[in-house]
Amino acid sequence: MITAEQKPIDEIRKMIAPYKKVLAVGCGSCVAECAAGGEKETGALASALRMACKIAGEDKTIDEKTLDRQCVREFVIQLDDVIKDYDAILSLGCGAGVQAVAEMYNEVIVIPALNTEFLGETREQGLWVENCLGCGDCMLYFFGGICPLSRCSKQLLNGPCGGSQGGKCEINPDVPCAWQNIIDRLSSQNALERLEMIYPPKDWSKKHGSGPRKIVREDQQK
């Protein structure tokens, strides 16, 4: 899941200041799960902005609409009928959602209301943790399903580093040592021999090597 957090209201107000009619567009997928840009959060932000504008004596219209998914064009086209009524879109989607909307409506200003953070997991209610970098070459099999690149502070493929104390990382005692977890997991699976292998430096060309990545699946295309 892509996680995000809402920008401060003051920052959002500055960005929407030049526009008189603004549509706040939420997204019902990842950012709804992380309580940043779903229907409730979109309603709350739009309400707060309307109040802020009214108190400041600004003549502004701020409406709201939440799409099921803002990064898929089939869902974004629901804006076709309403977008002409607005000067700007305030998107509560992730960075991909903001860009999908901006790409579809070139003439409309699209403003991000969220800071997109990381690929993560909902660990418990109200707690999201980063556990995937999207490296393009998954090695989770070798590490018992725990990614050292996203969860080890030093991104070590051949750990542990020796700084772990009591199962916690030396850079911050609140951070669990990923390598302690990897060893515990592989021990419980009788698979510690996977760590006898020396892993060469990560081939980052699959992530950053040739510019923006894309996936083409001909069997899924028209």
Binding site: I9, S47, I55, I62, D63
Partner: protein
């Protein structure tokens, strides 16, 4: 008895609060007219930030949330969750220039577990006399009393 309210209030309350049956709500609505809007909720944990903001935006000079006493929530932690949501809503309204005390959480101590809804509302009525009109509704609030004031911003 005539009410003393000169401000418009939204009162959200857990339906587990004693004496909060529908007939009580109706009699309170008759007494206070449109100045008090009562929102019975299955649990205070069902109330979200957006509900509190919308009430302030559309109508209310102040919003009250009445919960069960600590440890008495039938869903175990609804009255704990609302504490954090009220805090979040207070921070939001403060950031836009409204006083944070326009949202108030009432959690009675366990000794007052049998305190009925009408007593809470009467106390709120007394307290509300000191509330200044909200910057959101200043013009409307003059002589508010029982006038309808819930119109949403023009879209």
């Amino acid at each position: 008895m005539k009410n003393k309210l000169t401000r418009n209030l939204a009162i959200f309350y857990c339906q587990n609060v004693p004496g909060s049956q529908d007939d009580v709500r109706q009699s309170l609505e008759e007494k206070y007219g449109k100045a008090v809007r009562l929102f019975p909720m299955p649990c205070s944990g069902r109330i979200d930030v957006v509900h509190l903001l919308r009430a302030l935006e559309e109508y209310a000079d102040a919003v009250y949330v009445i919960t069960c006493p600590p440890g008495a929530c039938r869903y175990h932690e609804g009255n704990k969750r609302i504490v954090k949501r009220v805090d979040t809503a207070k921070k939001i309204i403060e950031s836009i220039g409204l006083e944070k005390d326009r949202i108030k959480l009432i959690t009675p101590p366990i000794e007052l577990a049998l305190k009925p809804l009408t007593s809470f509302v009467e106390e709120i009525e007394e307290e509300a006399a000191a509330i200044e009109p909200s910057a959101m509704h200043k013009k409307k609030a003059q002589g508010a009393g029982n006038k309808v004031q819930g119109k949403k911003e023009k879209k």
